[in-house]
């Protein structure tokens, strides 16, 4: 591969070259501001660059498309093998559950929800960052979002997929789960519209639909680029034959199978819905994008509010709390951003050219969001506790003091304090600039927050349930191996889907990234 002229015109994009080729890194032009790459500039008069490496438009295209077109890398294959095996175990657990009964989990008549709904709320929460970044930051014209929005949206979709599994399989009779939907039937029985679980069905399915549309629609031009590049390679005879990736050694070439570029031009061609890069297309695309952003924005608030109603509208001490809707939304954004960071920081480290598009500035911005939302969540924890005491409801105070906080009497004190440590204390390191600019620190905090957010849901669900009003029916919850493997399996499903996304789809929104590049603003000084 050869280094090309940075000022290569847009035509160069259409010429096509070797699948998977990456442009060479370029020396960084110092912008001034202390750090060598200039992204962490603090000078209010200057704007930190969002794209590093003095990239041309073509370079950006090559970077993003190159990864999607490259032969399957061995580490990817290894990871994919692991994650898909875990996903298979998870699927096996789900099948076992459906065949045998919900009792394979550790639930009992006092703790009727435990890991199932914990996982559901956890994954739904993860799914919040994507839409927040795509929609709200889009409407607020936060340009830095362009580097992360595609992957965050993908993460949202996959998290919602994982989230959707749990309410589906946790019901006792999975084969009747369709009764949740308002389907006219001969008995004239409708779902109970007073039930928050039904609101969940609508909220989550709406959210999943809109997020999927948003993600897919944003991807159409980039899919078309991939299609065009594949077709050009075919036309120029640059296409490689199909090769079965082997974990060790060389890939096995199978000449009689269609070439990957043939498959690509077919698959991306169908997926890109006939996109021709015409101005009319772009015009309509921009409008639709804005409209979808507008639709998604209230969904960011509504979904987790409604999920929180599962708890807030109940009468159980520890659940029956009016603070839940904002607190859950803040927690979801918190957990979602943590997951974005958890995934992108390693990718950035592994794929060097990505760090030109996803800079330290992005990480720092997201760290700041983690700090803000983490503090909001911490405030919510303390308000919950305060109201439990101030409200003078003995049962509610018990639910907090004796079921969660006090290590002497609360069996789940460790879960509560894990949650506090991970969610409230760990993000506080971001007050120190050096730490919030260190990818390793950010990653560790993101990991802690992800763990902490899982525990937050566990604490809310299990510690409130295991000792409620009548002591005669108190029971502990002990997870079984099926509980654990189902959750691990859902992580496997998530990781598998995300790996597939990384390999086969454009990870950055090309057009949007290009819009925030300096070249786009030569005549527009603002």
């Amino acid at each position: 591969m050869t280094a090309r002229d940075p000022d290569q015109s847009n035509d160069a994009r259409l010429t096509g070259h070797d699948a998977g080729s990456q442009p060479a890194p370029r020396p960084v032009k110092s912008v001034g501001g202390g750090k060598d790459d200039g992204t962490l500039i603090e000078d209010p008069g200057k704007r930190a660059p969002l794209i590093l490496g003095d990239r041309s438009f073509g370079d950006v295209t090559d970077i993003v498309c190159g990864y999607a077109e490259a032969p399957i890398p061995k580490p990817w294959l290894a990871l994919f093998t692991i994650t898909s095996s875990i996903a298979a175990v998870g699927t096996g657990m789900i099948l076992y559950l459906i065949i045998t009964g919900v009792g394979v989990w550790g639930l009992n008549n006092q703790v009727d929800w435990a890991w199932d709904i914990t996982n559901f709320v956890f994954w739904i929460g993860i799914g919040h960052a994507g839409t927040l970044i795509s929609a709200i930051l889009c409407l607020l014209k936060q340009n830095w979002r362009t580097a992360v929005n595609r992957s965050a949206e993908a993460m949202t979709i996959f998290a919602v997929v994982c989230a959707g599994i749990f309410p589906g399989i946790h019901v006792g009779r999975v084969w009747f789960a369709w009764m949740l939907f308002p389907i006219p039937n001969s008995n004239g029985i409708w779902p109970n519209f007073r039930s928050p679980l039904l609101w969940d069905v609508f909220a989550v399915s709406t959210y999943a639909t809109v997020s999927l549309l948003f993600w897919y629609m944003g991807m159409i031009p980039d899919l078309a680029t991939l299609r065009d590049r594949a077709q050009l390679r075919r036309a120029r005879g640059l296409s490689r034959p199909f090769a079965i990736p082997m974990p060790i050694g060389t890939d096995i070439v199978v000449p009689f199978l269609p070439r990957p570029d043939t498959i690509r031009s077919f698959a991306y061609g169908i997926a890109s819905l006939g996109w021709r890069f015409s101005s009319r297309h772009w015009h309509r695309y921009e409008k639709a994008y804005l409209i979808l952003a507008g639709i998604s924005t209230p969904l960011v608030l509504s979904v987790h509010s409604i999920v929180s109603f599962d708890f807030a509208t109940s009468i159980l001490p520890g659940w029956h709390t009016t603070i839940f809707p904002p607190y859950f939304v803040a927690g979801a954004v918190f957990g979602g951003f943590a997951m974005v960071l958890l995934l992108l920081i390693p990718i950035r480290a592994v794929l060097p050219n990505f760090s030109d598009l996803l800079t330290l500035r992005h990480l720092e911005n997201m760290a700041k969001i983690i700090l803000v939302t983490g503090t909001m969540v911490g405030f919510a924890y303390s308000m919950e506790f305060f109201i439990a005491w101030y409200g003078a409801n003995q049962f509610e105070f018990e639910a907090f003091a004796n079921n969660r906080v006090n290590p002497n009497v609360a069996p789940y004190w460790w879960a509560y304090w894990t949650m506090i440590t991970c969610n409230v204390l760990s993000p506080q390191v971001f007050w120190i600039r050096r730490l919030r600019q260190n990818p390793l620190v950010i990653w560790l905090v993101a990991l802690a927050v992800t763990v902490g957010m899982w525990f937050e849901r566990f604490v809310i669900i299990v510690t409130s349930l295991h000792r409620a009003f009548i002591p005669g029916e108190w029971h502990m919850f002990f997870p079984t191996w099926v509980d654990i493997l189902t959750f691990v399996g859902s992580c496997g499903i998530f990781a598998t889907l995300f790996l597939l996304f990384l390999k086969f789809l454009p990870v950055f929104a090309l057009a949007e990234v290009k819009v925030v590049m300096p070249q786009s603003h030569t005549s527009d000084d603002h």
Binding site: L197, I315, Q394, W414
Partner: protein, 1203 residues
């Protein structure tokens, strides 16, 4: 066959045979419609098809065959539910289709009276509910003097024994060369005739009988017949858990053995000494009813009895006590002596260590002060001298004859079973016995361990055992004979008072042929006659013989029919004897009595006991296995119970538990029982040890009847066979226990030892609100008063709070007065018929009848003063509502399915010595404002127009949200297909680590079982169909993944409504009259021996339930949640003796405000104000009225710390 050929005549001439082919018959003669049919010609079918084309031509041959297959399968299934008996189909199944008995109404159950012989004598009269010939549910016979319509848990459970698929199904013979082989009864009779003829010559020398001790006149007659025939034969009446104290004690006191029954309804003061008269013994139902009647105070100032109990382990009676004292059994005699001395009876003996002398004096004074209405109830297991002394006290108190009813015990029943068996064992060992016949006795399992009966038994050449289920003795016999169950055979039984009852079969023996014990005895008496006399002939012969008549006598026949209808012979009960205690002899014997030494850690005292008549016979009964034991709530097991302090000092506290915790779960682990080696009477065994608050220190509570090895899948290896260490009696001193390695999982429904009100912590309030209790002086003071609280916030009408409502959480939360009319809220206030012209409207502003004004509106009231926690309601509900049994490992996970559970709380500061035990049965309370209904996403739990909260099982998808939102936690989820699973008491490997399990195997000799539920259903062994015969056809069998809960026995409600409609006493349109109170009885209400549960129409002002709801003792459980439960609880009133403990401080002063307004309800200012200073919550509330109306005011004071 072709259907194209339209004309049969084109097929040629029909050859008409002389005799018809297979034809339908009518009035015994063949009928035919045509010559073709007569000839059996195929063409006839073609003709028929043209005649009935819609029905016959649609299906071609293959389809018709599959249709028939499906029909056949569904008929077979339907047959399983409708055919009388669940045997292989025989010709009898045609009975209903051909000639339906006139009295049978399809879908209606038939009730037949019978009686249940109790182990060791006595009887319960039963009414058995039969659906198309199969008994499904047992109820008490209202005519029987013992039950009076109530029943015990044991009686409820027998119907499950009947359908046990593991019952012995045919005789088995142990062939010397081939081992056990299946045989027939004819084989047996042939063999027996030959074998027993040999004994005719020598008068039965070398022959021995071991028969279960039951008070059956026919068995007694046949016994004497046999003994006359074979005078040299041995006869042992066997009762493994025999208590000798009563027999020997009454022999000492009155000169002859007597059974004592007590008329508690006449008592004001009761002292129970080591006697669980409420839940043990043949008269438990009689006693429960009588005693509970003296506790049902309705108004302030109502008289109420006072109960003192002195006992070594927590019992249901102890939970009812106003004063409960723990005392080791060895000191019971000393205690009775001390009481006697206080009363001036000569009773030399040591002082009591553990009960203060002033308390003894106070008890004695209280009893003496109420002479004539006070009684001492000695336990049947006391030392005879102590028992006799107690009777001397009763004599002094004037109780004998009036309160204490004495009934003579005949010699056969008074025989010393253990001594007789020991003598037989000696004979067996000496080789003088070569044939042993066991009749419903299982001595190989339940003989005292040191006796070594099992090895002696094997020395007899011929061993014949009749058993209803399976038994260890049958397994060790040369002939094991399948016996007929009580519900399958004729018999008779006398109650403790001599009331004669007939035992009549409800169903032919399921594993026919089978014999009952009397039939087998009858066969032995006349073994030449292979057509054995059946039970009916034997019983009628006995009864006719008693009146010197014959069975043909018309008068006898009439009486007999009456007996079969009533279930008993009216007036056959003997009059209580008017004996007086021989005080001088008693004093002499008492002085000579050698009191046992005080137990210590190195020499513990062991108390053996059985629960619910289960001496091992109910081991195969999953209902009894899963019925939580009183106090410990342990199921499927019999760990040895120790008091917490004793366990601590011996190092036997359960792993992961600490004594100073009210809940030991802070370590995230299930408490695990320690395994220990227990040595009693020179025999050692490994057992699990569990702690039980309320046990006397240094006493081992050892439950019998577990650890069976041959009883079927259900009971095998559940628990420990403690008979192996049992001495001849039921108590033993000098026991040793030492920790061995390993732990053991104990499953209990309340697996924590929750202490109740604890003044040190905030837990105080929440516990207080759940089980409310109050000392009687305060009840007398406030019981009739109502505090009216005006609601200043919303301006809505005032709330009035009774005393019971005030002592709960309402004293801390504003009165629950809604600011708007919620159409879903329907409460008694709404029920008032509106004045003319006023119309209620619903949410849509449609004119409506006043909500909740149309009857019936169902409700329930549970009287905590009457409930003893015996658990009968749980089994009755299980039986009525087809509730699944889940097994030990599932209970350990907290998944028991019982719809009504009995919660128990220990009260006090000290775990080792709780002040009292509070009992509270909780089932679905049927909230009018039900939290479960709102959250169900599929409308599977909805409200009925009669105020019940209903489950639509078909609609339920099992989100379990309802259970989460239920504050009472009464909903039960089918985590697995429990109804289909065959369960054992096995251990779940999830709860036992491999090492421990191996240790368990090694120590206890049991195999480790997996939780079968975890195995996917298709890979699991199928249940035998016979188990399904028990199901009540009026109640759905719930599938996996469905939520269930108490339905207020909706099937009974519907039946009752239909009956009322048919009888014309009630109709929906014009409310002629309410549905008569008592027409609908819920299963729990019907079984409850104390009448603690009442259920009925709460709009009917005359119904028992509405009267109870009007009582000021009534409160709403968690009422502040505004759930408006239809089940209400009646506060418990204690009647303490002020000389023994101080009356508790004024409950209203403690929980509410005090000050000027206090006089509004208090009236007089006095002693109750004394201890306000120490209370923790008084500062929060300044103004007693304002506390209800302005919580902001109160809160601000609280926050500011102002007082």
């Amino acid at each position: 066959m072709s259907t194209i050929d339209q004309c049969p005549s084109t097929k040629g001439t029909l050859d008409i045979p002389d005799s018809p082919a297979k034809l339908a018959q009518m009035s015994g003669k063949p009928v035919w419609r045509s010559p073709e049919e007569f000839a059996g010609d195929d063409s006839f079918r073609g003709f028929v098809e043209r005649e009935f084309p819609g029905g016959a031509s649609v299906l071609d041959d293959t389809n018709r065959r599959s249709f028939l297959k499906v029909m056949g399968a569904s008929l077979a299934l339907a047959g399983a539910a409708t055919v009388p008996g669940c045997r292989r189909p025989d010709r009898k199944i045609l009975a209903y289709s051909k000639n339906v008995p006139e009295e049978i109404i399809p879908g209606r159950a038939m009730y037949y009276a019978t009686a249940l012989p109790l182990p060791g004598g006595g009887a319960e009269g039963l009414l058995v509910e039969c659906h198309t010939g199969r008994p499904t549910k047992v109820e008490g016979n209202p005519l029987h003097p013992n039950n009076q319509g109530k029943s015990s848990a044991y009686a409820q459970s027998i119907v499950l024994d009947l359908y046990d698929p593991d019952r012995l199904k045919y005789p088995e013979y142990e062939n010397p060369s081939r081992g056990k082989v299946a045989a027939t009864w004819d084989d047996f009779k042939f063999w027996a005739h030959e074998h027993f003829s040999g004994y005719d010559a020598n008068g039965g020398r070398g022959l021995a009988f071991i028969a279960e001790k039951v008070s059956s006149p026919t068995q007694a007659r046949l016994q004497s017949e046999l003994m006359a025939k074979w005078p040299n034969a041995k006869w042992v009446g066997w009762n493994p858990a025999e208590q000798r104290g009563e027999i020997e004690g009454s022999r000492l006191a009155f000169g002859a053995p007597h059974h004592a029954r007590y008329r508690f309804e006449k008592t004001e003061r009761v002292l129970s000494v080591e006697c669980d008269f409420m839940s043990e013994g043949p008269d438990e139902l009689y006693h429960s009813r009588g005693f509970a009647g003296t506790r049902k105070v309705m108004n302030a100032g109502d008289s109420m009895s006072r109960l003192y109990t002195v006992e070594s382990r927590p019992t249901a009676t102890g939970s009812m006590a106003d004063h409960r004292f723990r005392l080791n059994p060895g000191q019971m005699a000393a205690f009775i002596g001390a009481i006697a001395r206080e009363m001036g009876i000569d009773a030399p003996g040591p002082a009591v260590n553990g009960i203060e002398a002033r308390h003894i004096a106070a008890i004695a004074k209280d009893l003496t002060d109420h002479a004539g209405s006070s009684v001492v109830v000695p336990g049947p297991g006391l030392a005879p001298e102590a028992y006799a002394m107690a009777m001397a006290i009763n004599d002094r108190l004037g109780a004998i004859g009036s309160i204490v009813e004495l009934f003579a015990i005949d010699d056969a029943m008074a025989s010393d079973a253990a001594a007789d068996l020991a003598a037989l064992t000696a004979d067996l060992n000496a080789g003088t016995i070569d044939t042993v016949v066991c009749l419903n006795a299982n001595p190989v399992y339940d003989a005292p361990g040191a006796m070594g009966f099992g090895s002696a038994f094997a020395k007899a050449k011929t061993r014949v055992t009749l058993t209803v289920g399976q038994s260890e003795t049958a397994g060790a016999s040369t002939w094991s004979l399948n016996g007929a169950h009580t519900l399958e055979a004729w018999g008779d039984v006398a109650g403790t008072d001599g009331t004669l009852s007939a035992v009549q079969p409800m169903i032919a023996p399921l594993f026919e042929p089978a014999m009952s014990a009397i039939e087998l005895l009858g066969f032995f008496a006349d073994h030449a006659n292979t057509d054995a006399r059946d039970g009916y002939a034997l019983v009628t012969a006995t009864w006719a013989g008693r009146t010197n008549t014959t069975t043909d006598n018309q008068g006898f026949k009439k009486t007999w029919r009456r007996v079969l209808h009533d279930g008993l012979l009216a007036g056959s009960g003997s009059r209580p004897e008017r004996a007086s205690a021989r005080t001088a002899q008693i004093s002499g014997a008492f002085g000579a009595y050698k009191h046992p030494q005080l137990p210590a850690n190195a020499a513990l005292e062991a108390v053996f006991y059985t629960v619910r008549h289960n001496d091992g016979r109910s081991a195969a009964n999953a209902w009894m296995q899963e019925l939580p034991e009183f106090g410990s709530t342990v199921v499927w097991d019999n760990p040895v119970y120790l008091s917490p302090m004793t366990a601590k000092s011996l190092g036997l506290l359960p792993e992961h538990s600490r004594l100073d915790e009210y809940n030991p779960y802070t370590k995230q682990q299930m408490p695990q029982a320690r395994l220990a080696t227990l040595t009693v009477d020179g025999q050692a065994m490994d057992v699990a040890v569990w702690i039980l608050p309320g046990m006397a220190d240094n006493v081992l509570g050892i439950k019998l009847g577990f650890g069976r090895t041959e009883t079927g899948r259900v009971g095998n290896n559940a628990g420990f066979n403690t008979y192996t260490i049992k001495p001849a009696g039921m108590t033993a001193g000098g026991a040793k226990i030492e920790r061995s390695s390993g732990t053991y999982t104990i499953a209990s429904t309340q697996n924590h030892w929750s202490l109740g009100p604890d003044s040190q912590s905030s837990r105080d309030e929440s516990r207080h609100t759940i089980v409310r209790a109050m000392d009687k002086p305060w009840w007398d003071k406030y019981g009739d008063k109502v505090e009216t609280v005006e609601d200043k916030i919303y301006g809505t009408p005032a709330a009035s709070l009774t005393i019971a409502e005030q002592i709960g959480e309402l004293s801390h939360t504003p009165a629950n007065i809604s600011s708007y009319d919620n159409p879903m809220n329907r409460s008694p206030e709404d029920a008032a018929v509106p004045p003319a012209g006023v119309k209620h409207s619903d949410a849509l502003k449609r004119d409506m009848p006043a909500p909740y004004s149309q009857g019936p509106q169902w409700g329930m009231s549970i009287d905590l003063n009457a409930c003893s926690g015996c658990g009968v309601c749980t089994v009755a509900c299980q039986s009525e509502n087809n509730i699944a049994v889940v097994g030990k490992s599932e209970v350990a996970k907290g998944r028991e399915m019982t719809w009504i559970r009995v919660d128990r709380y220990f009260v006090g500061e000290e775990l080792n010595n709780p002040e009292e035990m509070l009992i509270q049965p909780v089932a679905c309370v049927h909230c009018e404002n039900a939290p479960c209904e709102v959250v169900c996403p599929v409308n599977a739990t909805v409200h009925g127009p009669e105020g019940t909260n209903n489950m639509a099982y078909n609609r339920c998808i099992g989100t379990r949200y309802c259970a989460n939102n239920c504050p009472y936690k009464v909903r039960r989820f089918n985590f697995f297909d429990y109804a289909q699973a065959k369960l054992n008491g096995g251990l779940d490997p999830n709860y036992v680590s491999t090492g421990i399990a191996n240790a368990y195997d090694e120590h206890v000799g049991s195999d480790r079982r997996n939780n079968q539920n975890m195995i996917p259903p298709r890979l699991r062994k199928k249940v035998e169909e016979i188990g399904k015969m028990q199901f009540n056809p009026h109640v759905t069998v719930r599938s996996r993944g469905v939520m269930e809960k108490c339905s207020y026995c909706v099937q009974r409600v519907n039946q009752g409504r239909q009956d009322a409609k048919i009888s014309g006493t009630w109709s929906e349109a014009d409310q002629i009259a309410p549905i008569a109170d008592g027409l609908v009885l819920s299963a729990c209400q019907q079984a409850c021996p104390t009448g603690a549960i009442s259920f009925g129409d709460i709009l009917d002002q005359n119904s028992q339930v509405s009267k109870e709801k009007d009582s000021h003792r009534t409160y709403l459980l968690l009422g502040y949640l505004n759930t408006r439960p239809r089940t209400t609880y009646m506060m418990r009133v204690r009647n303490p003796n002020a000389d023994i403990r101080a009356i508790e401080s004024d409950p209203l002063a403690h929980h509410g405000g005090h000050g000027d307004d206090h006089d509004d309800h208090g009236g007089d200012s006095g002693t109750e104000h004394d201890d306000h200073g120490g209370e923790s919550h008084s500062s929060a509330y300044i103004d007693g009225v304002k506390k209800y109306t302005d919580n902001g005011y109160a809160m601000s004071l609280n926050v500011l710390g102002t007082s």
